[in-house]
C-alpha cells in the first residue's frame, strides 16, 4: 500500500452488530443497510445437497466499504447473489435498507435490484451493441424514467467516472478499464443503496485494477456504501472492512488494519 490510510472505516462496535443480527424478525434501524440473520442456502446438485451458506449473520452500516473474501467454494458468490437480490435464501432473514427482501417474489426482487443495488461484474456485462450512454441508461429504462431525464442522468454518471468523451462508443471500442468504469456508471445511475462488485478487477491488469480501486475509494469517500466480493487479498485490503467466508460461514470480520496485520503475519 503506497497510499496512506486516511480514515479508519466507520465500523460499529461488535456488540452493536451482535445486537442487530440477533434480534430476529425485527426491522433494523435506519443506519443499517444490510442485515442478514442466519442465512442458509442449499442447492440440490443432482441428488447431492450442497450447503453453500450455513448460517451467515452480517450487518453493514450505511457508508461502509466492505470486502467479502474467501477461497472458491466458500459461499461468497452465493452470499453476493443473496445480497444482490438475485437469489433468495432457504432460511434466515435478509433486511435491505429496512425492507425484508428474503421472501419476495421475482418481480418484487427485480424492483429492489433496480432501485437499491448497483452491480459491477468481473466481465463488465455491458450490452455489446449499445453505446456507453445507452448501457448506463438501461437501469433508468426499467425504472420508467423519461428519455430526456435518462440521458441527462446517464451523462452525469459517466462524467463521474471520467468518461465524458466516450459516451457514444460501444464496449468493443473501449479499454478494459473504461468498460469497467461504464459498468460503475451504470451501477451508480439509479443512486442505489449499495454498490455491489463481484471480482471487479478479475479481468484487468494491475495498473487498471489500481485505477478502478481508486474509483471505488473516492465513491466510498463520497458516502457510497460499497460491497466488493473478491478472492484476492491485494484487492480486499483496499476496503475498510474485510469479511472472510469459509465453508459457508463467516470466519473473520475485521477492520482493514487488523486484516493487513494478519496478512503480514501469514
Amino acid at each position: 500500500m503506497n497510499q496512506p490510510i486516511a480514515i479508519e472505516a466507520p465500523l460499529g462496535a461488535t456488540a452493536e452488530r451482535q445486537a442487530v443480527v440477533s434480534s430476529a424478525g425485527e426491522a433494523p434501524g435506519a443506519d443499517w443497510v444490510i442485515v442478514t440473520r442466519g442465512i442458509k442456502r442449499e442447492y440440490d446438485m443432482g441428488g447431492e445437497i450442497v450447503r453453500a451458506l450455513r448460517g451467515v449473520d452480517l450487518a453493514i452500516r450505511r457508508n461502509e466499504y466492505v470486502a467479502i473474501m474467501g477461497p472458491s467454494g466458500s459461499g461468497k458468490s452465493t452470499l453476493m447473489n443473496v445480497i444482490g437480490c438475485l437469489d433468495t435464501p432457504n432460511e434466515g432473514e435478509y433486511w435491505l435498507n429496512g425492507t425484508r427482501v428474503s421472501s419476495m417474489s421475482d418481480d418484487a426482487l427485480a424492483r429492489v435490484r433496480n432501485k437499491e443495488i448497483g452491480f459491477v461484474f468481473q466481465t463488465f456485462n455491458l450490452l455489446p451493441r449499445a453505446t456507453a450512454l445507452h448501457n448506463v441508461e438501461l437501469p433508468l429504462v426499467y425504472a420508467g424514467v423519461s428519455a430526456d431525464e435518462r440521458k441527462r442522468r446517464a451523462r452525469e454518471a459517466l462524467s463521474r467516472v471520467q468518461l465524458d468523451g466516450r459516451m457514444d462508443h460501444r464496449p468493443n471500442e473501449l479499454s478494459g478499464g473504461q468498460r469497467q468504469r461504464v459498468a460503475i456508471a451504470r451501477a451508480l445511475v439509479n443512486n442505489p443503496s449499495i454498490l455491489l462488485a463481484d471480482e471487479p478487477t478479475g479481468n484487468l491488469d494491475s495498473t487498471t485494477s489500481e485505477e478502478i480501486m481508486r474509483v471505488f475509494e473516492s465513491l466510498a469517500d463520497q458516502g457510497q456504501t460499497v460491497i466488493m466480493v473478491t478472492h484476492e487479498p491485494d484487492i480486499a485490503q483496499h476496503a475498510r472492512r474485510v469479511v472472510v467466508l469459509r465453508d459457508g460461514l463467516i470466519a473473520s470480520d475485521d477492520r482493514r488494519s487488523a486484516f493487513v496485520e494478519k496478512l503480514g503475519l501469514s
Binding site: 447473489n81 444482490g84 438475485l86 437469489d87 421475482d106 418481480d107 427485480a110 424492483r111 435490484r113 433496480n114 432501485k115 452491480f119 461484474f121 456485462n125 455491458l126 450490452l127 451493441r129 438501461l138 437501469p139 429504462v141 426499467y142 425504472a143 428519455a147 451504470r186 439509479n190
Partner: protein
C-alpha cells in the same frame, strides 16, 4: 421498456442480420403476398361483376320476363331442368297484354337474340354475329349510345326497316379501316344498312361484348331471331327499385292469368333481375374467399413456426443479455414484452413486404390475364394486422421462456 424503444431495437436487430431476417420473414411474406393477391383479385372481380358485367347484361332497376333464367349457373337437379324444358315460351302475343298492364313511366322492350351469319363485300369470309331484334325503348333502358351515326328513328322501328347499329368488333371485322355508317351488311342473305356504331362495351373473362348487331323488332331478320312468334325476353325498367318489385308482381299476375295457373301451381316463366345474376357470383366468391384464405393460412403457419424457431435461437444467443437486463431490474413482463415486440416487429415487416409483393402480384395477374384486380386499402391493414398477430403468437413461447430465465444462470451464460 418503452414500446418505441423496443421497436427500434427490433428493427436494428433485423437490419444487422439482413439475410437471416429475410429468410425468417419469407414464410409470412409469402402467406401475406397470396392473401393480398387473392383479396385484390376477388375484390376486383367482385367490383367488375357488380359494376360492369351484370350492368352490361342487365340494366339498372330492370327485370326480364323469360321462359327460363338467362344467367343460371347454380347447381340444380334433373327435375329442375325437366321442368324448365316443359315451360311454354314467351310469345309475340304476350307483349301487348303484359306491357299494357305496366304503370306510367315504366320502359319496356321486347328482345330477341340469336347467332346469325353475316357478310360484307369488304371481307371474304362470313362470320357469326349476335343479332338482336328490339323494340323502341331498348337503347334507353340499356343506356347505349352510338359513337358514330345514329340510333333508329320511330318510323324505322314502326315499319321494320332493314337498318342496324353494330358493335365495335363487328365494325372492325366487316369494315376494316372504313367508316361503316351508310354501308351494307348482309345478314342471313338480307341486306341491312348500318346507321350507327355503338361505343365499346368491353369484355369480361376474355369474352367480348362487342360482337353484336341490333335491328328493329319488325325488321326482316325477325323471322330468324324470333321464329314462330317466340321472343326471348320482355325487358322492363322502372324508375326506382321499389317500383321494380311491385311491377314484377303485376307482370307475374298477368302471366299467371294468361297461362291459367292455379294458385297451387308454381310460375312457369322467370322474372330475372340483376340480383339473380349477382347471387350466383356471390356463391363463387364465397368459395374463392375460402380458398384464398385457406391457402395463405398454410404459409402463415409455416412462417409462424420459423419465427418461433428464430426467436428461440435469439433467446438462447442472448441469454447473457437477458441476465444483464434482469440484474438491472427488468421484470418478467419487461423481458416478455421485449421479445414479443421483437417477434411482432419481425413478422410485421415481413407482412408489409408481403403486402407490397401481393399488390405487385395482383397487378401482374391483372396485366397478363383477363382477371381484373382492385387494390383495397383495408387489405393493407388486414395484411399488417395478420403479420403482427402471427408475430405475437409465434413469439409468445420464446418470450415466456426468456422471461422465466434465472438471472444467476443467465449471467453465467456465454
Amino acid at each position: 421498456m418503452p414500446f418505441l424503444d423496443a421497436i427500434r431495437l427490433a428493427l436494428q436487430q433485423i437490419w444487422v442480420q439482413k439475410l437471416k431476417s429475410f429468410f425468417t420473414l419469407l414464410g409470412v411474406m409469402i402467406g401475406v403476398t397470396f392473401l393480398i393477391a387473392v383479396v385484390s383479385i376477388v375484390g376486383g372481380m367482385s367490383r367488375y361483376m357488380t359494376e360492369q358485367l351484370v350492368g352490361k347484361i342487365m340494366a339498372v332497376n330492370s327485370f326480364e320476363l323469360r321462359h327460363r333464367p338467362n344467367i343460371d349457373l347454380g347447381d340444380h337437379d334433373d327435375n329442375y331442368y325437366r321442368e324448365l324444358r316443359r315451360r311454354p315460351r314467351i310469345k309475340e302475343s304476350d307483349i301487348e297484354p303484359v306491357t299494357s298492364a305496366l304503370p306510367e313511366g315504366v320502359l319496356w322492350a321486347a328482345v330477341g337474340n340469336d347467332n346469325l351469319s353475316a357478310s360484307s363485300r369488304y371481307v371474304a369470309k362470313p362470320r357469326l354475329v349476335l343479332a338482336f331484334t328490339v323494340t323502341d325503348d331498348y337503347f334507353t333502358i340499356k343506356r347505349m349510345t352510338p359513337v358514330s351515326g345514329r340510333l333508329f328513328s320511330p318510323q324505322e322501328f314502326a315499319r321494320g326497316m332493314p337498318v342496324i347499329v353494330i358493335g365495335q368488333d363487328v365494325a372492325n371485322y366487316f369494315f376494316p379501316s372504313l367508316d361503316p355508317v351508310g354501308r351494307e351488311l348482309t345478314i342471313r342473305g338480307i341486306p341491312y344498312q348500318v346507321v350507327g356504331v355503338m361505343e365499346k362495351q368491353g369484355s369480361a373473362f376474355g369474352i367480348s361484348f362487342d360482337k353484336f348487331i341490333v335491328a328493329p323488332h319488325k325488321s326482316p331478320i325477325n323471322r330468324y331471331v324470333n321464329a314462330h312468334g317466340v321472343i326471348d325476353a320482355i325487358m322492363i325498367q322502372t324508375p326506382s327499385r321499389e317500383g321494380m318489385l311491385s311491377t314484377m308482381e303485376t307482370v307475374r299476375q298477368v302471366m299467371r292469368a294468361r297461362r291459367g295457373l292455379r294458385p297451387s301451381e308454381p310460375d312457369n316463366f322467370s322474372l330475372e333481375t340483376s340480383d339473380s345474376a349477382l347471387e350466383f357470383w356471390n356463391k363463387i366468391k364465397s368459395y374463392l374467399v375460402i380458398a384464398g384464405v385457406a391457402l395463405p393460412a398454410i404459409g402463415l403457419v409455416v412462417g409462424a413456426i420459423v419465427i418461433m424457431n428464430i426467436m428461440l435461437v435469439a433467446v438462447a444467443e442472448r441469454t447473457r443479455e437477458i441476465g444483464i437486463r434482469k440484474s438491472l431490474g427488468a421484470r418478467r413482463r419487461d423481458i416478455m414484452s421485449q421479445f414479443l415486440v421483437e417477434s411482432a416487429t419481425l413478422s410485421t415487416v415481413g407482412a408489409a413486404l408481403g403486402v407490397a409483393t401481393g399488390f405487385a402480384f395482383a397487378k401482374l395477374i391483372a396485366a397478363v390475364t383477363p382477371l381484373p384486380a382492385a387494390v383495397e386499402l383495408w387489405s393493407v391493414f388486414l395484411g399488417v394486422g395478420i403479420g403482427a398477430g402471427v408475430g405475437i403468437v409465434a413469439g409468445a413461447y420464446p418470450a415466456s421462456r426468456a422471461s422465466r430465465l434465472d438471472p444467476i444462470i443467465a449471467l453465467r451464460a456465454e
